[in-house]
Amino acid sequence: MAKAAQKTGIVEAERHPALAGRNASAAHVTLTALEPAERISLRAPEASLAALSKALGLTLPKKPKTSTSKGGRTALWLGPDEWLVIDDAGGDLLADCAKVKQLHSAVGVSHRNVAIGVTGPGAETTLNAGCPQDLSLAAFPVGGCSRTIFGKVEIVLYRTAEDAFRVECWRSFSDYVFTFLSEAARDAAA
């Protein structure tokens, strides 16, 4: 909510997240626009990983398509020198990285990305309407993640439970992704 800053009398800008309040449900799947979160795009060479992991309080994963999670923070492996780090607990990821002297690039993308939760026994099927990856538990286990496509746009897909995924996409594509997911959900039996 808008509130007056202490000294200046400037009214603080209200946040209007994309997809705010949007949700949809079908027989076997529920779609939810997830709460805003802190995010950084982290780039770093191997030699900096120990220091960055320490500063962030979790071990940055090195294996393709895996993630690590601790204390409301999740680091998703996106490439050999690239991670998407998400903080749901209100931590300041940029400040934590700023303390690290070792070579790296941390860029804030909290507002660039929008997250959609896809949950239910039909979640996998719903996503497979537009995502060509093998989403079976054997190939894409809980904690698995991947930068991939959904229909015509790029997404980051992260499996949070056997029947739950987090879909991250860019803000202006979120309406497309949500609409597509809603359509796909209609055809997603368990």
């Binding site: 808008a2 993308v109 309407a129 229909g151 202006s172 497309y176």
Partner: protein
């Protein structure tokens, strides 16, 4: 009663479950489980269509996907009309409404049939030879008329109200075809625990077991066994069973496209079920069990309604309980037709005679037929048939000539043998081999697949199932399955169908005027193939295109081999030397709906909206499409047209201020100790010495020296740049930079991150811009001394973080306020409220274009076209003269890039200030020269400038800067416009307003 030809105690349908339907307006009754074909045949209806070219009456040839004749239109309502549906695969539902096609005024009396009488004029290649002159008439006269006379169904004229879905899937073993072989392979694979998908185009699995009454497996009838296996497979967690699903395309790396008809067979599908579902499956191993298709006999008038494939008649009897006639004849060169004759005879249908082209055929089936008392005429041919709308007799003659005999019949079953269905194998890029049985069978494999059963040329149920079971086990093992104890099904009895014949039988010619059809759907006769060869076609590919054999929607499923054999015979060459035409996807026609699936309406392409879109909408903005983005074009007030609104917006910005949504600009954060070095290499400008907190206009070239993109870059810190790109260039500039970083400059310690959507951008431009922003800002000194033009500061606005740029794309004092995207709308609203105090306006992309043109600022992609250098655009000042290297530096020294007379960007003033030039208009230096005139350039940007009180334009003109002051001419259709060449700046030439 579901038809006079329904035989009690035959078939597998439940007679009590009736379904009503109409064909050409007449009401009939069928049974649940019928196809439209079986239901019509049960009612004695054979005449269902008119042929493509000659409008000959046609009936059902087959009982499956290969059907060339029985194409009908199925209409659920005025929008749901599907043309060219094969009646043999359309399942009956209560209320189905079908219509015949390509006839007028009616099916039994069709005026177009005059083509049949005139057919000597319509021989192969007729269209190519006849309608050559005049050339223009082809497009306007001949083609449209030929198209409407020849034809298939009529495309629906309303938007498709149905919806379609898509599904990607992965599996270890994909089995295509659900006959005995496919089921055996799937069972073998499934038992090892691997993921199996099995698909079949029919509503029920079983394939040829639908009609093959002699098959017994595991102590039960073949069909019953198949249903038991399907139930077993469905119960397994690792198996997906897809019925009504056609594999239509086999692509690279075992990627197979399938279409599942989800609700085509339902009377009331409801709204939630898609009509069709597109499956795109990636499989480790593919087992092809696609079966074989029976060939017809090629003889005179073999297309009469009532003449059909023996396996079709047998299917109608054994599965649907329908007799295709009461007194049938059989014409064959193969054993399998005997099975049909025997079954019909047993069911009480009179079999007038079996005419077998072979001398002294022998075998179990032949013995059985004789024992059943069926008359067999061996070594004889059917030379013609009687009847017009329905076959009424067949004329039999010894194949080497002799006395004729005419036998009355009401249906004629024919079989020339079976063609292995190698379509999908061929699509997988496998090479077929011609075997000793004169069949093209899979030869060399190109992908991880294996063919089993009839499609592999394997005869007999036991042999097919053995082969399939072994292949299924092997495929599963290769895909990582565990060896298990398996329960291989045991075949107790089967039928062996020995080989048949290819090409035309006696009575089909040669060189007679009879129509012995090879390709029913395209009306290609044996005579046409021979003519093609006589006219010089040597390759089967040429014969195909000259005659159109095999080119219709059935893609030659019944005709290819006959056509090939006739051509080979004419050429006196062995069949493999003439060659088989290539099989291409789709195997059977696929609807556009299935291919498009979800990508229609709002999902056709993403529509991207900025964080401030809602505000603009509320304030009456008219939007324009810029790539996928919706951008506010202008904000008309009551009574304003576009012209008036843009004029007001332009004047207001220069008088007080304007707010502009620049969020769509591409933005890239370049971070790392080598960031400046990287910028030096990617842009023409120098960056090393740019201080933190300052900005610079940068130009990016391609390797060839031409302008690729431009934008203002702010240096936030020694190791951090905030780069902006054009809206349209955002994605490709990022790729261009990343490409160079990874391939040319991998030694640099720098990383690129797209932040286009992290930041909403509000441009506040005009003399009052600082006054509007300042009250909302904390932590930034906005005085001219502390924050001069082309600088960037980080601080807070409205209590949220901002990257505040002082920069101008209008030539007036200006700022661009970057805030995290979710705050864009609120900060815009706060700035708007401040702006209102000063009389500021919101302006759109049109005013933005005019204002920048007044200052001669270029837009990459509008004033440049990929052939413009910085010098051409008057931007030499932005190229670092002392720089040793940057992308494009060598390109810039190419001879033609430094030659005199290149097109240069200049300003144009029309002599009449009220005349606004057309963008794209060509410019000449002498309007009196003869046409075609020598063009010396063209207009790139042109507007009415209310601030200048006149029109303004930019143009690329050969040697333009040396022509300053010259008069040039812009010839238009109705007049010639005189223009004067000027500099590019039309407003505030000294640039004083940047600090005004």
């Amino acid at each position: 009663m579901s038809g006079a030809f329904r035989i009690s105690n035959a078939g597998r349908l439940t007679p009590a479950r009736t379904a009503r339907f109409t064909f050409d307006g007449k009401a009939y009754t069928g049974v649940e489980g019928d196809t439209l074909a079986s239901a019509l045949l049960a009612n004695g209806v054979h005449l269902v269509g008119r042929s493509f070219k000659y409008h000959r009456p046609r009936g059902f040839l087959s009982a499956g996907a290969e059907e060339p004749n029985a194409l009908v239109e199925i209409a659920r309502d005025s929008a749901r009309k599907t043309p060219n549906v094969r009646a043999t695969v359309q399942e009956l539902y209560d209320g189905l409404s079908a219509k015949s096609q390509n006839r007028w005024p009616s099916l039994s009396f069709d005026v177009g049939a005059v083509n049949d009488v005139a057919s000597p004029f319509f021989s192969a290649g007729f269209y190519y030879k006849t309608f050559m002159w005049p050339k223009s008439a082809w497009k306007n006269l001949y083609e449209p008329n030929i198209r409407s006379a020849a034809g298939l169904g009529v495309a629906p004229d309303q938007p498709d109200p149905d919806h379609y879905s898509s599904r990607f899937a992965h599996c270890d073993v994909l089995v295509l075809g659900g006959g005995a072989a496919g089921l055996a392979a799937a069972l073998a694979a499934a038992e090892t625990g691997v993921r199996v998908i099995i698909a079949d185009e029919q509503a029920e699995f079983g394939g040829a077991l639908r009609f093959e009454s002699g098959a017994r497996i595991e102590g039960q009838g073949g069909w019953a066994w198949a249903q038991g296996i399907v139930a077993q497979l469905k119960a397994m967690g690792n198996v997906r069973v897809l019925s009504r699903t056609t594999a239509f395309g086999y692509y690279a790396q075992n990627f197979v496209g399938l279409v599942e008809r989800v609700s085509e067979h339902l009377a009331d599908p409801g709204h939630d079920v898609p009509r069709e579902r597109l499956w795109q499956v990636r499989a480790k191993r593919v087992v092809l069990a696609t079966g074989a298709i029976e060939r017809h006999m090629v003889f005179a008038d073999n297309d009469r309604p009532g003449v059909m494939l023996a396996s079709a008649a047998r299917t109608y009897l054994n599965h649907y309980g329908v007799a295709v006639g009461r007194n049938v004849g059989v014409y064959t060169a193969n054993d399998s037709a005997y099975g049909a004759a025997i079954d019909l005879k047993k069911a009480g249908v009179n079999v007038a005679a079996i005419v077998d082209l072979r001398d002294n055929p022998s075998g179990t089936l032949i013995d059985q037929a004789r024992a059943a008392g069926i008359e067999i005429h061996d070594g004889r041919a059917v030379t013609r048939v009687g009847g017009k709308l329905r076959v009424s007799s067949m004329t039999v003659q010894p194949k080497n000539g002799g006395g004729e005999r005419t036998i009355a019949i009401d249906a004629l079953l024919m079989s020339a043998g079976w063609t292995p269905s190698v379509h999908l194998f061929s699509q997988s890029r496998g090479k077929v081999a011609f075997n000793e049985d004169k069949r093209f069978v899979p030869g060399t494999y190109a992908q991880d697949c294996v063919s089993v059963g009839a499609c592999n040329g394997t005869d007999g149920l036991a042999a097919s199932m053995d082969e399939a079971y072994a292949a299924g086990t092997k495929a599963a093992k290769e895909a990582g399955g565990k060896a298990t104890k398996v329960s291989k099904p045991k075949v107790d009895a089967d039928e062996i169908w020995s080989r048949g014949m290819l090409g035309s039988a006696p009575g089909a010619g040669p060189d007679t005027t009879v129509k012995a059809f090879v390709d029913f759907q395209n009306d290609v006769t044996a005579k046409d193939i021979r003519q093609a060869v006589r006219e010089g076609m040597r390759s089967i590919e040429h014969v195909k295109r000259f005659t159109t054999n095999g080119m219709a929607t059935d893609q030659g499923k019944t005709s290819n081999m006959h056509g090939l054999a006739i051509a080979a015979d004419m050429l006196s060459k062995p069949i493999p030397e003439v060659g088989l035409t290539t099989f291409r996807a789709p195997y059977t026609p696929v609807t556009f709906g299935a291919i498009i699936s979800h990508a229609r309406g709002p999902l056709f392409d993403p529509t991207r909206r900025t964080p401030m879109h809602g505000w603009a909408e509320k304030h009456g903005a008219v939007f324009e499409d810029v790539g996928q983005w919706k951008r506010a074009w202008y904000f008309p007030r009551a009574g304003e047209d576009m012209h008036a609104a843009v004029n007001r917006e332009c004047v207001t910005v220069r008088k007080t201020a304007g707010l502009f949504d620049a969020s769509t600009l591409g933005k890239i954060e370049v971070v790392g100790p080598d960031a400046a070095k990287f910028m030096e290499l990617l842009y023409t400008n120098p960056w090393e010495k740019l201080e933190a907190g300052r900005c610079r206009y940068g130009i990016m070239l391609r390797e060839d020296g031409f302008i690729y993109d431009d934008g203002v870059v702010g240096r936030l810190a020694a190791d951090r740049f905030h780069v902006t790109t054009t809206t349209g260039g955002a994605a490709r500039v990022m790729n261009h930079m990343e490409d160079y970083l990874q391939t040319e400059f991998p030694h640099l310690n720098v990383w690129l991150t797209s932040i286009s959507e992290q930041w909403a951008v509000i441009a506040v431009q005009g003399p009052k811009s600082r006054d509007i922003i300042a009250p909302l800002v904390e932590g930034i000194d906005m005085s001219d001394e502390a924050m001069p033009h082309m600088s960037v500061r980080e601080g807070k606005i409205c209590g949220v973080p901002t990257r505040l740029f002082r920069m101008s794309f209008t030539g007036d004092r200006g700022f661009e306020v970057n805030v995290p995207a979710d705050y864009g709308q609120a900060v815009w609203e706060a700035l708007w409220a401040e702006g209102q105090k000063h009389g500021a306006a919101a302006y759109g992309t049109e005013a933005m274009h005019v204002l920048r043109a007044e200052k001669g600022y270029i837009i990459v992609g509008q004033d440049t076209d990929g052939t413009v250098t910085p010098n051409d655009a008057g931007l030499d000042w932005a190229v670092g003269k002392k720089k040793a290297d940057f992308v494009g530096i060598r390109g810039l020294t190419r001879l033609d890039l430094v030659a005199k007379g290149r097109k240069q960007l200049v300003g144009l003033r029309t002599k009449d200030p009220r005349v606004v030039l057309e963008e794209g208009a060509q410019v000449v230096d002498n309007p009196n020269q003869p046409i075609p005139m020598k063009m010396i350039g063209h207009v790139t940007s042109s507007y009415w400038s209310e601030n200048c009180g006149r029109s303004i334009a930019l143009a690329l003109i050969a040697g333009g800067r040396d022509r300053a002051g010259e008069t040039l001419y812009v010839p238009m259709p109705d007049k010639v416009i005189e223009v004067e060449v000027t500099g590019m700046v039309f407003f505030d030439e000294k640039g004083e307003r940047l600090n005004g």
